[in-house]
């Protein structure tokens, strides 16, 4: 039996309905991306008084720049740690809240708060806690014999921005995991329990596979977040330093383009960034989504 296709009678209505979305995409994505692509091929002075076509020279310069390659490494390490930490904690909190049942309301509200905090504010908050001179946590660490100075120690600085970035994203992950857990049919779990499966086995063989679509969705969202959305946190806490320890790609784009006024080089970087994320997303949808059971 052929499934009946639902069609709208009008010829224009569907296009009209589509228009706002298309307009938004054109104005906020296609146009800037196109402009980035064009200006990545030019060397331009800061005031835009003159520009020279340089072809792919801006891209070649990137590959020769050790600072850029270092930023690639830092970005992937940063994105990996933020994603693992934020998703791990999100799942843990969601499982804990789920186990609480009806009493989870307050817990849920408290967990969602960090998401409402602006990235720059979150950064400053963590900066205050970890300020080497006046930060509470830095002082506590010092009494335990650990000297904390993220102004000087690159590893500590990276740890700080990873913690701050993950903290801000945990809420989001928590909400989705919590909703996912609530949607798992109790019947399946009860049946497994009757068959003698312990809590861990039930989690491993029933809950996790049923959470797979949520997990997959969150993986993409978290990676994108770590790559693109953490700029404010880094700008407020470490400014990319010390050295280049916390300069991730998107931060380098800002520094070179906005502060350094190297528009060509910075556009080349944003094109590369765009390609990386498109590739990442495509790869995941092709290869991981197949293994996701719905």
């Amino acid at each position: 039996m052929q499934a009946k296709r639902v069609t709208f009678p009008g010829k224009i209505t569907p296009y009209l309905l589509l228009l706002p979305q298309v307009a938004v995409t054109l104005v906020f994505f296609v146009w800037p991306a196109g402009e980035a692509l064009v200006s990545s091929l030019f060397a331009q002075d800061a005031f835009g008084l003159g520009s020279t076509f340089v072809g792919l020279a801006n891209f070649a310069a990137l590959l020769r720049d050790p600072a850029y390659l270092e930023a690639v490494g830092v970005s992937f390490l940063f994105a990996f740690c933020v994603t693992v930490l934020a998703m791990g904690l999100g799942l843990l909190f969601a499982a804990a809240a789920d186990a609480l049942g009806k009493a989870a309301g307050l817990y849920q509200v408290l967990l969602v708060w960090p998401y409402a905090v602006a990235p720059a504010v979150a950064g400053v908050l963590w900066l205050f806690m970890f300020d080497p001179s006046v930060g509470m946590i830095a002082r506590a660490l010092r009494t335990m014999g650990l000297s904390w100075n993220h102004m000087l120690d690159g590893g500590q600085a990276l740890t700080l921005v990873i913690l701050a970035a993950a903290w801000k994203q945990v809420s989001y992950n928590f909400l989705f995991f919590y909703a996912g857990l609530r949607a798992i049919p109790q019947g399946a779990l009860e049946a497994a329990a009757l068959d003698g499966a312990g809590p861990f086995q039930r989690f491993r063989h029933i809950v996790l596979p049923l959470l797979a679509p949520t997990t997959f969705f969150l993986l993409v969202v978290n990676l994108t977040y770590a790559f693109f959305d953490t700029f404010g946190i880094i700008h407020a806490t470490t400014g990319g330093g010390p050295g280049r320890a916390t300069t991730i790609l998107v931060y380098k784009v800002f520094r070179d383009g906005f502060e350094g006024l190297d528009l060509g080089g910075s556009s080349a970087q944003s094109v590369v960034l765009l390609v990386i994320v498109v590739a990442l997303t495509a790869l995941q949808f092709r290869h991981i989504e197949h293994k996701v059971s719905y």
């Binding site: 331009q44 800061a46 300020d131 080497p132 784009v253 906005f258 502060e259 190297d262």
Partner: protein
């Protein structure tokens, strides 16, 4: 990302320009004064003083109205103005820090040089009235002043007198040389203070002013004042010796690094460090945020360097005039600059902010008013600037892409202090990477 953030800035600019227009009270006079936008980067107490300057000027006449608009940090004000210029929404006057000088100078079509502006408007203007150590930065090779010197500062040594007393040191004689700084730091540490000294603006203090103070070049072609074909020469024995000392001192916190710009301030404010080397314009902030008695000294020097100390160089900002505004605005700008040049206005600004008196007359007036006797130590900055006649190595610096070069220098200094690189390797890397920036600038600004 760049594009969307730039677009965001543009929107913000348009909105704030619009808001500034709305904020004007309806003109009571029969004629409406010509409004002149002045974008600046002075927050807090310094911003209030700046607004008073504009209000005072506006009160002296009814034809023009200077409208100060705060635009964030120095880099934000500068890049914001440039973005606005590209969108033809720019102000007549923008405050640009010294690091942006080469960028502004090379933007010939966008800049209305100050000497030309004053001549066109028939406003009396004598470049010789300004201190040579200040104007050297902002004049072209023909000796013409391109921007208007407004707020220039120089790094000086700040001392926590209470901690000096506690350690049995004489609070009235701050250390003069680096070995004396080390000895004083050891004494305060023995008295229980965790850290000897810290620094603001790491590259400005530990490379740029270090070099001028010892009459050693930072780059070729008179530190870039002679042209864009300049090369950095920071991997020299003096800087290496200084960085080696800093790296050694960092281990026991004789020196404790506190971050870039003025991020090290809490260490000095809280009494964690007994000394700090920072901008002369930091005085108001220190007095407002700390409880101890504050002492002032000149920057320390290495006594084994012949002829040291030479003279210090400046930081801070100047006012640049952008082209493309209506002609009557420029008449008002010239009048305003004329007003700012008055000795009593300059002296007031100097005495209330810690910035240098940029004209000889303002310095003389402050002295005649007895300001330095009433506020001992406040003339340290000007004495540093005028200690000796500036040489090719101590007139000033002008390097293209200097914002990025400073980042490079500070990155390498941080790697040195963290023990990841030897001072020698770090300086060699900073020099090579800085030279790449210079070549890129040369290519983009032929």
């Amino acid at each position: 990302m760049v594009h969307s953030s730039r677009r965001g800035v543009l929107t913000a600019l348009v909105v704030s320009a619009f808001a500034a227009t709305l904020a004007q009270p309806a003109a009571a006079q029969s004629q409406t004064p010509t409004q002149i936008q002045w974008w600046h980067a002075m927050a807090g107490p310094l911003g209030e003083k700046l607004e008073k300057l504009a209000a005072d000027f506006n009160a002296t006449q009814g034809e023009y109205k200077i409208v100060p608009v705060f635009k964030g940090t120095y880099p934000e004000a500068m890049t914001g103005a440039i973005a606005a210029f590209r969108a033809k929404q720019h102000p007549a006057i923008v405050q640009v820090f010294e690091v942006g000088t080469a960028t502004m100078m090379s933007a010939k079509g966008a800049i209305y040089p100050t000497y030309k502006l004053m001549a066109d408007a028939g406003e009396p203007f004598d470049p010789k009235a300004y201190l040579p150590a200040v104007t050297g930065y902002y004049t072209d090779t023909g000796g013409n002043m391109l921007s208007f010197p407004f707020n220039s500062s120089t790094p000086i040594l700040y001392v926590n007198k209470d901690l000096f007393r506690k350690a049995g040191l004489d609070p009235e004689t701050p250390p003069k040389t680096w070995p004396e700084v080390e000895a004083a730091a050891l004494k305060v540490q023995a008295a229980g203070v965790p850290c000897g000294f810290t620094t603001q603006w790491p590259s400005w203090v530990n490379v740029e002013n270090l070099s001028a103070w010892h009459n050693v070049p930072v780059g070729t072609l008179e530190n870039g004042l002679g042209g864009t074909a300049t090369r950095l020469t920071i991997a020299n024995p003096l800087t290496q010796k200084h960085w080696e000392a800093l790296a050694r001192w960092q281990k026991t916190k004789i020196y404790d690094y506190g971050g870039r710009q003025s991020k090290a301030d809490p260490k000095f404010f809280s009494g964690e460090c007994a000394m700090s080397i920072g901008s002369s314009a930091a005085r108001a902030g220190i007095l407002a945020n700390s409880k101890f008695e504050l002492g002032y000294g000149m920057m320390p020097y290495w006594p084994d360097v012949q002829g040291a100390p030479q003279n210090a160089i400046i930081g801070g900002a100047t006012l640049w005039v952008l082209t493309g505004r209506p002609a009557e605005e420029y008449k008002g700008v010239a009048k305003f600059f004329g007003y700012l040049s008055r000795p009593e206005v300059q002296a007031w600004w100097h005495q209330n902010t810690g910035y240098l008196p940029i004209t000889q007359a303002a310095y003389d007036l402050s002295r005649a008013q007895g300001f330095y006797e009433k506020n001992p130590g406040t003339d340290v900055s000007i004495r540093q600037m005028t200690l000796k006649a500036p040489t090719a190595n101590s007139k000033g610096l002008r390097f293209g892409n200097f914002l990025q070069i400073r980042d490079v220098i500070e990155e390498e200094l941080e790697a040195t202090l963290a023990g990841q690189k030897t001072p020698q390797a770090a300086l060699a890397a900073a020099e090579a990477r800085g030279n790449e920036q210079l070549r890129a600038f040369e290519k983009a600004n032929p």
